[in-house]
């Protein structure tokens, strides 16, 4: 029991959870309150069900993409094209659904999800194949495909915003029994994909291979791991998560365009890195990526809730990212130091053979 607790407290994500909780506490204490329009009761400007679910919804699109980005970063790569994959997946879905005309609500949702996920995976496979086949650094390949994929989306849509069928919006804005105006579906999807991502990375052979690949490429090669397949696979996962995020985003907001998610790749990579993923590879987690996205969205939220000047948003986010990563590294070093210190007496008392 104590061992499990120690493991939990020593986990990299625990520190991030504490930071998220502290930011939430700070926001709650400083946000003030307002009278609810319907009931007339005083509600805290941050700690109310609407703002909390809205914050989680805002984070969910980044977080889902950040999980895929974390997988690529753990492998030692980077994917700059996730924003463009998001845009292309979204517009592909809208065009496919438009061409299909009237079909049932269930079929619409299923076809939309399959199209988004399929286009996402396809784009990821292309990224992976180019990285492996051309032996060019992922930064360059995905920088190129970032423009190419957005260009395809632009040409395909002729720069128009395309509405998605209302039945899709009904799915992602389902209240699931909550009072009107509360939409928990994106948040639940984020939690589900975080769970799947965690299981994938920590409980499957492929997941362990990715850590090995990113942690020590040479050792992985000597161990006979299928390196090309791993590298293509991580980009496919990144594309898949971007496709799923696009499905949720386009459905939730009711439309899609080639200009969607511009610049989101930087938020997504920042979320993964704030969540503990090392750009050198071999370290990171799905939960960390989700928490990183949540923290960034909370910081954005704090600027609005505390009525700071909006013009300072980028400065605050940039500083927060640097501070979060420095604290994380400092915490990691401290934990490693304590573990070493704790191990020393045990080693000293172990009889030599």
């Amino acid at each position: 029991m104590r061992g499990a607790l120690r493991k939990l407290l020593g986990a990299q994500e625990t520190g991030l959870i504490v930071v998220v909780v502290l930011v939430a506490v700070l926001l709650t204490s400083l946000a003030g309150s307002h009278a609810d329009r319907r009931s007339g009761e005083l509600v805290n400007n941050f700690w109310n069900s609407y703002t909390l679910i809205q914050t989680a919804t805002d984070a969910s699109f980044f977080a889902i993409m950040a999980i895929g980005a974390a997988v690529v970063i753990i492998s030692g790569g980077i994917d700059l094209s996730v924003g463009s994959i998001y845009a292309l997946s979204g517009v592909s879905m809208a065009l496919v659904l438009r061409s299909m005309g009237q079909i049932g609500d269930g079929a619409t949702a299923l076809l939309g999800l399959v199209t988004c996920a399929g286009v996402g995976v396809l784009c990821g496979l292309v990224n992976g194949a180019l990285v492996v086949g051309l032996r060019v650094h992922p930064f360059i390949i995905t920088l190129g495909t970032m423009w190419i994929l957005r260009g395809i989306a632009f040409v395909a849509t002729k720069a128009e915003s395309i509405l998605v069928p209302p039945s899709l919006t009904a799915v992602t804005k389902a209240s699931l029994g909550l009072p009107g105006g509360l939409y928990p579906v994106p948040m639940l999807c984020m939690l589900l994909i975080t769970t799947i991502g965690t299981i994938y990375l920590t409980r499957t052979v492929m997941g362990r291979h990715i850590f090995a690949f990113g942690g020590n490429l040479e050792a992985s090669r000597y161990a006979g791991l299928p390196l090309n397949r791993i590298q293509i696979g991580v980009f496919a996962v990144s594309g898949l998560t971007a496709g799923i995020a696009a499905f949720l985003g386009a459905s939730f907001y009711g439309s899609t365009s080639s200009g969607d998610a511009q610049g989101y790749e930087l938020y997504v990579i920042a979320s993964a890195v704030v969540g503990g993923a090392s750009l050198l590879g071999g370290r990171g987690s799905a939960l960390g990526a989700t928490l990183g996205a949540l923290l960034i969205v909370l910081i954005r939220q704090s600027i609005r809730t505390l009525h700071f000047d909006q013009n300072y948003e980028w400065i605050v986010i940039g500083c927060a990212i640097i501070v979060a990563v420095v604290i994380d590294q400092w915490s990691t070093r401290l934990t490693a130091h304590r573990l070493r210190a704790a191990a020393e007496p045990a080693r000293a008392t172990t009889p030599s053979t």
């Binding site: 607790l5 120690r6 407290l9 020593g10 625990t14 504490v18 909780v21 502290l22 939430a24 506490v25 700070l26 709650t28 204490s29 400083l30 946000a31 003030g32 309150s33 307002h34 009278a35 609810d36 329009r37 005083l42 509600v43 805290n44 400007n45 700690w47 109310n48 609407y50 703002t51 809205q54 805002d58 720069a159 915003s161 395309i162 509405l163 804005k173 009107g180 105006g181 939730f252 907001y253 009711g254 439309s255 365009s257 080639s258 200009g259 969607d260 998610a261 511009q262 610049g263 939220q301 609005r304 809730t305 009525h307 000047d309 909006q310 013009n311 948003e313 980028w314 934990t335 304590r338």
Partner: protein
């Protein structure tokens, strides 16, 4: 163990702070005795929206006096254009207890759902500059974009004597209001048999990118005689003052901000069609207070008229810009009659 204790302390501290926070939340003052208007423009890096903000704040002050109730404007404009972020900010404004929202839509289809959700939760929404006509907003204040495109091209055609090659500078290809202005400009050009449109040129909406785009097109089409700019982006730089020859090329552009006035003075842009951008905020806030507080009926569409700025009206226009909060109006123009 030491590690465990420190985490435990941290956790307890967090819970304690949280309890205090919740307590404060319950004790906070109600804000029913004021009108809070969330203003969400397209981008806070665009100076026209800063003038709109100045107008909104001035109207809030004036209406606070006349309505005998404090009117507050909360600026929730994203740093750069993003319809999805605007939708998130609409939801945020509603959650924060705003009474009304005044928005210029970057992507109408992206924010329509959020506007309807806000209206469903009892928050009045008004649009300005760029409308969301399919939404349940109660009013829109702005120019007729197709007519704006038509007027721009008509002015240019007149300056060019009804003949010559012209180009259309069109900004962001995704913006529906700009697409409509281009449509209007092309429809108007079709009325002049001697006017040939060589193309519509989109660009990233920064002054430098726009100016570079103009130079590139001029090099590719050396016989261009006029530019119909449906936004004034490249004229925010000084570079075209030397790169464009007023004897050879005429420009008509929408908007007339301080940096653009030199182009009027030099004769490169003999006519600028100015949107009274300050009024976006002023009229917007006044209309909202009229509806919410004075319970007046307001029209669904409130048309904004373009103002024609020429060398003759430079002084008057410059002083108006200064009064609207622009701090970079050249002194030379302020002194003119």
């Amino acid at each position: 163990m030491q590690n465990f204790i420190s985490w435990k302390r941290l956790g307890l501290g967090a819970i304690a702070t949280f309890s205090l926070a919740c307590g404060k939340g319950r004790e906070g003052a109600a804000q029913n005795d004021r009108i809070t208007i969330a203003m969400i423009a397209k981008s806070s890096s665009n100076p026209v929206f800063l003038a709109a903000r100045t107008g909104a704040e001035a109207a809030a002050k004036a209406m606070s006096d006349s309505a005998k109730v404090p009117v507050e404007v909360v600026w929730l404009t994203p740093p750069q254009e993003d319809g999805q972020v605007q939708a998130q900010r609409i939801a945020q404004a509603v959650n924060d207890g705003a009474d009304a929202i005044l928005i210029s839509c970057s992507d109408a289809s992206k924010v329509t759902g959020a506007i309807n959700d806000a209206v469903a939760r009892g928050v009045a929404v008004m649009t300005f500059d760029s409308d969301a006509p399919q939404s349940q907003r109660f009013a829109y204040f702005g120019v007729d974009d197709i007519q704006t495109g038509r007027s721009t091209m008509a002015e240019l055609a007149t300056l060019m004597g009804g003949k010559g090659k012209v180009a259309i500078l069109a900004g962001n290809q995704n913006a529906p209001n700009l697409q409509r202005r281009v449509q209007g400009a092309r429809e108007e050009a079709a009325k002049y048999p001697g006017i040939q449109v060589v193309g519509t040129f989109n660009h990233i909406e920064t002054p430098q990118d726009a100016a570079a785009g103009v130079v590139r097109v001029n090099n590719a089409y050396p016989d261009i005689g006029g530019w119909a700019m449906i936004g004034g982006w490249p004229l925010f730089t000084q570079t075209l003052l030397t790169d464009l020859d007023p004897k050879r090329i005429k420009v008509v552009a929408v908007d007339a901000l301080p940096a653009e006035l030199a182009y009027v003075d030099k004769g490169i842009a003999p006519v600028l069609l100015a949107q009274p951008v300050y009024d976006w905020g002023y009229v917007g806030v006044k209309t909202i207070v009229d509806k919410l507080h004075f319970k007046k009926d307001v029209p669904t569409i409130i048309p904004m008229e373009l103002l024609r700025v020429t060398r003759e009206s430079l002084g008057t226009w410059a002083r108006k810009l200064r009064d609207w909060g622009f701090t970079d109006v050249p002194e030379a123009y302020l002194k003119r009659q």
